[in-house]
Amino acid sequence: MKTFRIGGVHPKENKLSAGKKIEVMDLPKQAVFPLSQHIGAPAVPCVAKGDLVKVGTKIADAGGFVSSPIFSSVSGKVAKIDAVIDASGYRKPAIIIDVEGDEWEPTIDRSTTLVHDTPLEPKEIVAKIQASGIVGMGGACFPTHVKLSPRTPVDVIIINAVECEPYLTADHSLMMEKAEEILIGVNLIMKATGVKKAYIAIENNKPDAIALMQEKAKGFAGIEVCPLRVRYPQGGEKQLIDAVVGRQVPNPPGLPADVGAIVQNVGTAFAIYEAVMKNKPLFERVVTVTGKGVAEPKNLLTRMGTPMSLLIEKAGGMPEDTGKVIGGGPMMGKALLNADVPVCKGSSGILLMTEKESLRGEEQPCIRCAKCVSACPMGLEPYLLQKLSEHAEWGRAEAEQIMTCIECGCCQFTCPANRPLLDWIRMGKGTVGGIIRARAAK
């Protein structure tokens, strides 16, 4: 069975919410829309305090080409535009809407009938995707229309349905319930880019999804399901391309398109279907609420802007001994300052860790066991990069390719001495990146 070639680890999968049906999350009383839900320039508000909005009304325009508009997920009145703490932990500007009723924009097709064909031309499809505020829904939130406008010819589309993060099942549940919609979405991506071949990459810990997608994919020319061996970080773009088609994306500024590939998340494919075929902009997504202490782990179809605390309540409330709330999975997710941050375009899951789980082990001296070197999927030497960062040897750190680190956390996960390798490497990356930019600016 295929997998990527270098490094990787296999954390306990803990997919507690696997096999659970997607439930529709209740509407919040107030919804919060941070203006920066994507990589690139923040969106620019196009509503003012007191304006009435419907579900699907655009409330912020894209702030540039690498940016994305934002749509209201609720109907009601704009309460204010203010700074709130979002999942990044920083205070950032956001549009806050008081919810009144649930009135949708009439242009949105709310029926469940499948639409198979569109008269739209490739360029029009990309424009529609851009206008619908679609970004990569795996977590990185890179604006999708930018990826669909590659600078070099592309011959393969890879749909990322790997979900290699432990605990998360949002993509899995979406595939089980929206298989055909996803496949039509993949078809749209192929049409938009003129590519004839698409792979849907699924790890083999989801045999039901593999079987279902294989069955449904028979009706679509050029789409093939590619089962992969379970291995983290297979959902990383570079690792996924390596695993599926055996091509390695060159180091930055190299892009997947340089090896002829475009990777899109399976949730993004579904959002593209809804945007193009149903005229529905991106304002809701499936969020996994999970954790060992959670009474009922769930997959919830959630309107964006809903505070995460409401989703936690829906799943049985926050357990008494919760030590950490993580936005995303345990390997790359962010620990949240509080549970009131809103669900955004990239929120794939909410993970509650118990007090005991959230403690790190005591740091011990490096015993040079080389397990971090074997685990690093980029072929780096984490122990060395950590030391170089600690001793501020930025020149050597750059020469040892610190900037190619993808921050997957395999090194720190595997370290028997509990060393905070990635903490140091992140610091080193920040400093070395600054040095490189300063040099380029001269």
């Binding site: 570079k238 789980e357 403690l359 066991c369 070197v373 074997s374 780096l380 030497e381």
Partner: protein, 322 residues
């Protein structure tokens, strides 16, 4: 509630591996050979092992407490136990106690702690201790009790190493451990059992032991062929005996694979192993010592930082064809 949340950077989970777990598995892997040595050499082996382990632990504790004045003791990581066991494995079972204690003092006091304790030493501490004893007490260190005589500790009948006259030693005796020698090195079979345990527990990878054994075999065949005194079949048999005799297996599986003093990449490990194999054959065939494993490993320990600089892992996207 919400004001008590912990915030840290990812990853938020850990494999559960620990320094202690790795050390414990090394001890488990050493057990079969240790029990065999107790059976073969009797009470002497028990006394030597106990003394060595106890004094290694004591010296690490004492140096930490009275010289380095560390508030935190490092005994609990289990590395002193492993050093003590490995030192004992390299000693004859009738060695006087004061010599063992000197060996442990040198291992910990010169080999390990001056560099900053676990993780920072350049040379394998147990081998530093052993080589110091070998040079200081050459006679006592190179006469080994004959196996299977459950006599008193002090007056065992001794014999020279089978390496001195390898052609007379039987391959089967060498493999199963019916020969004289240091405590832990006699039974090749049980050392291989330990190797399998280490591999299954993912404590070490196969690279270092396999490359040492392959290289030692190949170079010994080459050198004997160049000497041209024996038919080829005898040369191969003799080379196989080299792999099974003396400290070869113990060194390849347990000493050369010491995390701290061996290279970090698989490429580096193979180069390191090949060089050890070459050196040990050179020392055995052309040197004045019958055994060369300790020296070969210590020499290559010194080259480990250079190997680490020269051998980088296979970087992602290095060999992309555009």
């Amino acid at each position: 509630m919400s004001n008590k949340l912990k915030v840290s950077l990812s990853p938020h989970v850990h494999s559960g591996d620990s320094v202690r777990r790795n050390m414990d598995w090394v001890v488990v892997a050493l057990l079969p050979a240790m029990l065999w040595s107790f059976y073969v050499f009797g009470l002497g082996a028990v006394i030597v092992t106990a003394t060595s382990v106890a004094s290694c632990i004591f010296f690490e504790w004492a140096i930490n407490k009275f010289i380095l004045r560390n508030s935190r003791t490092t005994i609990s990581d289990g590395s002193a136990i492993v050093t003590g066991l490995l030192l004992a494995f390299n000693l004859p079972s009738n060695l006087p106690l004061y010599i063992i204690i000197i060996g442990a003092l040198v291992a910990m006091g010169i080999g390990k702690m001056p560099f900053g304790g676990l993780g920072n030493n350049i040379f394998n501490p147990a081998l530093v201790g052993r080589v110091f004893l070998l040079i200081s007490f050459p006679v006592k260190m190179t006469t080994w009790p004959v196996p299977h005589q459950m006599t008193a500790y002090a007056d065992a009948v001794t014999a020279a190493t089978p390496l001195a006259d390898l052609q007379q030693a039987g391959l089967g005796d060498l493999f199963f451990g019916n020969v004289g020698g240091s405590l832990g090195e006699v039974s090749v079979l049980l050392l291989l059992v330990g190797f399998v345990i280490l591999l299954v527990a993912k404590v070490i990878s196969w690279h270092i032991p396999v490359s040492i054994l392959c290289s030692a075999f190949v170079f010994s065949v080459i050198f004997y062929v160049l000497q041209g005194k024996m038919p080829f079949a005898d040369i191969c048999l003799l080379s196989l005996k080299h792999l099974c005799a003396g400290g070869m297996m113990l060194g390849a599986i347990f000493m050369a694979t010491d995390y701290v003093t061996s290279p970090m990449t698989h490429k580096g490990m193979v180069i390191y192993g090949l060089c050890i194999g070459f050196l040990v054959v050179c020392i055995r065939l052309f040197g004045s010592y019958p055994e060369g494993m300790s020296f070969a490993i210590l020499i290559m320990n010194g080259f480990t930082p250079l190997i680490n600089n020269a051998c980088k892992p296979n970087r992602f996207a290095k060999e992309v064809k555009k």
